[in-house]
Subunit: 312 residues, 2 copies
């Protein structure tokens, strides 16, 4: 079993920020990532709203953060974590498919996955007109016609966000009324450049190099229609990647996100969490801020814990 | 009176992040700054712990964020705000020494000033060995001898932070016991490379291009002593710049920081706050995260408010 002070699970912006701060406290820090450095951010073509960085690919920004963590001494391994277990003395064992790590503090930064619809063409056009984040990508569709799929608060907010920059916003919702607040729905209904397609589901996204149209099916009549759009924003919820946390006994909120205090600590002493897995605003800047707080506080926790165990 | 949707007070990392996000919502956004873009961050020689940016001068990082806000349409004016006033209809008037601005949402990002000691040489060597932030600057003193002035929790935490990277840490405290937690004080006392100077105040910081020594005075004996150090960290508290907020009726906490909810809104509807003025961890990454949340939420507030006023 290999020894570390801190293990950070997930190398998205939250995890890498936590690792930067933990490593700067001279703690022996390991980051475990099952995908690529940058996490979900790495799937974003271009990020232009991370303060201080004018324009950058998500992949490149992830690599920069990883390099920074490395420079301060944090180690990054590409392994999938299968289990997190608390020992009787309050320290932890983190198990991956190929190794076991012993440590005194953990940061869970496993993120959230945008829920996919499963429509034809959805995966093929991801990042080429299919987006899961209006705040991130709206400006790429300035003056163009787009669609939002979904009827919850986040779909309606996304549509209202898009209206300010796009020529027309189609809302595709499978029911005949929104799940989201009446206030938001009413606001949308009053807009000139909004078309609401009730009782409709997205069947297919079509295009060549990028999205050029969508095919909708009316669930009551089974009628199909094709509408020309440059972008399709899918807002059918996010799924926090919180199974690992839950299995370890960490408390989740009603939506399945990890519950944390102001110090980013979970209900389990020594286990901190940051970024999308904790819910809230799903933006790189926010994940970085939370990761920073988690990194500083897990550092303090580990220093005290090791002293306590030594004294016993 | 000039019209804006959102006025952001303060162009540090929190204010600029809020402005970036408000402007991206197509809101007419004004930033008012009494000093320089970047705020207190601009006074830091080198920042190496802002995730995603390898190494950058604080001034340069401030300019980058300001340029980004400008690119999204936010306007930055160098004026000092004298008063913030809520009108009967819930909108706001912001008064500077030279103009009046009407708006529907406000973000207070006025920061906090590190409390100065007033010792001789303190100002002259600021950024040249005199620092107010161990987390920011510790690594510049790797292997060197430094001093921390203060006896509260933040001074002790700073000293513990510095011990890991510096060869020796002197703690200078005016009393014969620490104000900070016994746990922290005990931990410090047990270290080999710590020298605690009780009943002592910093009289003078000396050096040529950078700090080379400090002069201490024992407050009981009036004896003076000179100790060779490369760095002096002054931790005698921060002073939130919250007078403007307080005068506007915004609630402060017991330490004088602006109280905010998870959405960064203050007790006063439409007035948001972010960054150091709200207390917590005083790091650029955290200010940016809070500013982002404030920018998104002030945007939503203003959109609803304008609609409400129009409907009346």
């Amino acid at each position: 079993m290999q020894e570390y002070d801190v293990v950070v699970i997930g190398a998205g912006p939250a995890g890498l920020s936590a690792a930067i701060y933990a490593a700067r406290r001279a703690l022996n820090t390991l980051i475990l990532e099952s995908g690529v450095a940058g996490g979900q951010m790495a799937a974003t073509n271009e990020i232009e709203n991370y303060p201080g960085v004018e324009k950058v690919g998500g992949m490149a920004l992830g690599e920069r953060m990883a390099k920074q963590a490395d420079r301060f001494g944090a180690e990054l391994k590409y392994e999938t974590v299968n289990a997190l277990q608390k020992k009787d003395d309050g320290s932890f064992v983190v198990r991956t498919e190929s190794a076991e790590y012993h440590c005194y503090g953990v940061v869970i930064a496993t993120g959230a996955a945008h829920r996919k619809l499963g429509a034809k063409g959805e995966d093929a056009f991801a990042g080429k007109g299919v987006s899961y984040c209006a705040t991130c990508d709206a400006l790429f569709f300035r003056g163009k016609e787009v669609a939002v799929v979904g009827g919850g608060n986040s779909a309606l907010s996304a549509a209202l966000y898009l209206i300010d920059v796009c020529s027309r916003v189609h809302i595709v919702h499978r029911r005949d009324e929104f799940r989201g607040e009446e206030r938001l729905g009413g606001e949308l209904a009053a807009k000139q450049n909004v078309a609401i397609h009730w009782d409709s589901v997205l069947e297919e996204v079509r295009g060549k190099d990028s999205v050029s149209s969508m095919v909708l099916k009316n669930v009551k009549t089974n009628e199909l229609s094709e509408i020309a759009v440059s972008g399709v924003f899918i807002y059918v919820g996010v799924v926090p990647t919180a199974k690992l946390a839950q299995d370890a006994g960490v408390e989740l909120d009603q939506y399945g996100f990890v519950k944390v205090g102001e110090d980013q600590q979970t209900c389990c002493a020594g286990v901190f969490a940051a970024g999308d897995v904790t819910g809230g605003v799903l933006q790189v800047a926010v994940a970085v801020g939370e990761g920073t707080i988690a990194g500083i506080n897990v550092g303090t926790f580990v220093k005290n814990k090791k002293k306590e165990l030594k004294a016993e």
